[in-house]
């Protein structure tokens, strides 16, 4: 399990975890945007590995993925992006979020070492429950990478035990039944399930899906150890005019959320 990840969750402070798709809005801008996110106050970066068939994502991230693929982004170039980021930042944890097939095609056996070498700290595969990932998880473990697993509102007790047993780094709580970017968040509903996770695992719990501004982040932070903001940020970046604008938007957006979290 990644030391950088565990270090990034600090007692009494809600971790802020922005999500961006690698290569969107522009391949050359991603590393700068990553640094800007850190500047703005991000504690952990979640990089989307674009996939042609992102079943669990809403339109914002789908379209972002499509644009990135058109620009030639691959799992390999994602690793290069992390490597480049690590030239200046050896501290902020970076996890990859994506789907199984690009990893499969990269080579399930080769991927953990390559990812570790590039400076990746963890992997979240949306369409890969722990039952299907035992071999992969071991290999990641060996390379010091975390296996970030999801818990959903529909997850029943037996599975919850299993997931809590298999997860490392942190646990990602999906805040509602739905896809990324949907508008269904009910922050108060998070308390019970997150408590259920905490009663089974020492790992920090971050919540994601539907958090799109300072206000919703604040509401969620009341119950979780971290908040993930995806679609809202991706959308904001997609509308940026140039690199400088994108970098500025990234920094300012994260900073505003950070501030709200710190003030709560």
């Amino acid at each position: 399990m990644s030391a950088r990840i565990s270090a990034s969750f600090q007692e009494g402070r809600c971790s802020l975890i922005p999500f961006i798709t690698v290569g969107d809005p522009h391949v050359d801008w991603t590393v700068d945007i990553m640094h800007a996110l850190v500047d703005g106050g991000a504690d952990l970066l979640e990089l989307g590995v674009p996939f042609s068939d992102p079943m669990a994502d809403g339109p914002v991230i789908q379209q972002s993925s499509e644009r990135a693929i058109e620009r030639g982004v691959t799992l390999e170039s994602v690793l290069n992006t992390v490597r480049e980021f690590r030239e200046q930042d050896q501290q902020t944890p970076v996890i990859l979020m994506g789907y199984m097939n690009p990893v499969e095609r990269f080579g399930e056996a080769d991927f953990p070492a390559a990812a570790a070498a590039a400076g990746v700290d963890g992997l979240l595969l949306v369409d890969c429950p722990p039952e299907e990932a035992q071999v992969l998880h071991q290999a990641l473990e060996q390379e010091g990478l975390s296996s970030i697993l999801l818990v959903a509102p529909t997850t029943r007790e037996a599975r919850l035990d299993r997931i809590c047993g298999a997860a490392s780094g942190f646990i990602y709580y999906v805040s509602f039944k739905g896809i990324t970017g949907a508008n269904r968040l009910d922050a108060d509903a998070l308390q019970a399930p997150i408590n259920a996770i905490r009663s089974r695992s020492e790992l920090p719990v971050a919540a994601g899906f539907g958090i799109n501004d300072a206000e919703s982040a604040q509401a969620v932070a009341a119950h979780s150890d971290g908040v993930v903001i995806g679609s809202a940020l991706v959308k904001l970046l997609a509308e940026s005019e140039d690199r400088e604008d994108a970098v500025g938007r990234a920094r300012d957006f994260v900073a505003s959320v950070r501030q709200a979290l710190d003030n709560s």
């Binding site: 068939d53 994502d57 429950p129 999801l150 529909t154 039944k177 269904r184």
Partner: protein
Amino acid sequence: MNAQVQQTSDQPDESGHFGEYGGSFVSETLMHALEELREAWLRWRNDDEFMARLDRDLAYYVGRPSPIYYAERLTQHCGGARILLKREDLNHTGAHKINNTVGQNLLAWHMGKQRVIAETGAGQHGVATSTVAARLNQQCVVYMGETDIHRQAINVFRMRLMGAEVRSVTSGSKTLKDALNEAMRDWVTNVDDTFYVIGTVAGPHPYPVMVRDFNAIVGREARKQMLEQYEELPDALVACVGGGSNAIGLFHPFIGDRDVAMYGVEAAGRGLNTEEHAASLCAGKPGVLHGCRTYLLDDQAGQITHTHSVSAGLDYPGVGPEHSWLKDEGRATYVGVTDEETLAATHALSRMEGILPALESAHAIAYGMKLASEMRADQTILINLSGRGDKDVQTLAAIEGLEL
């Protein structure tokens, strides 16, 4: 006829693995729904009343059993093995697809799910789902790629006649695989009251098993009919493979009959050596798509590639995991047939037997004709005529430069 399930192989394992294929690759939100579905299917498939109701629906609504027809002129034309056709084209709504939806929609009904959703490419599965949904008074939403909605306007209209809502999908290639993604998104969102009716033996466990079981009526009937009418089993089975449901439906009850050869025919489109085909087993690699590990068509980065086939129902970059397993095991052989060969077979069957096959099924006919001509006259081939070609008349006309 008898919808009871009889096991003829020990695959898959409890969590839906056929060797290294299959499994459940979905987001966590759906894991419970899949478990619920597995339990429901385990329960109801052993429930006498449920199975009796299914048998009745297959008999009186679908019109089963479908006959086995001796294609005498085609046989003479090929000059080899006797060619028999399993007439799934005679089913209500015109294809094998309804064997599955009659089953799944009934299961949904027993599970208390009032809402069913489905994805569709050519529209056949959408029509089959909305048809049964109408009958069971279920709310029905069908996802369909924007491109397909335009190409298959007639089927869209048919679904709407049945009271279904057809939702246009504008992401990705705007075709079948994107409709599937979108249906999954709907399911994730409405998982409590919604049953996702998948149209082929793909998807996460238990779909590949459940859809196979529903379609295995084809092979069970065929096996019985062969013994009754011909007093022997066929030497070879031939079926087209899109997702693979009609093929597995025919093959499965024969898996234990080691002397019966099995041929799955994929869409070779403009040729397996081009990029324009949909032959995952012939030209693809194992990967993960739409909930299962299986052979699929992707690029070096693992992005699923756009496929091509003259037949919309085969135009899919994945395939059911059981076929991947049968291929690796060597129990079934998978081959490709091009668009051109398919069209020739369509015309041949029309002119020689007065049967217009679905373009999907015409792939099987084309390969069956080739195979027959290489076999002896005392041998027999059973081809699954998975559907009728009425739905393809516009496509055929367009190829000849006509507008109907």
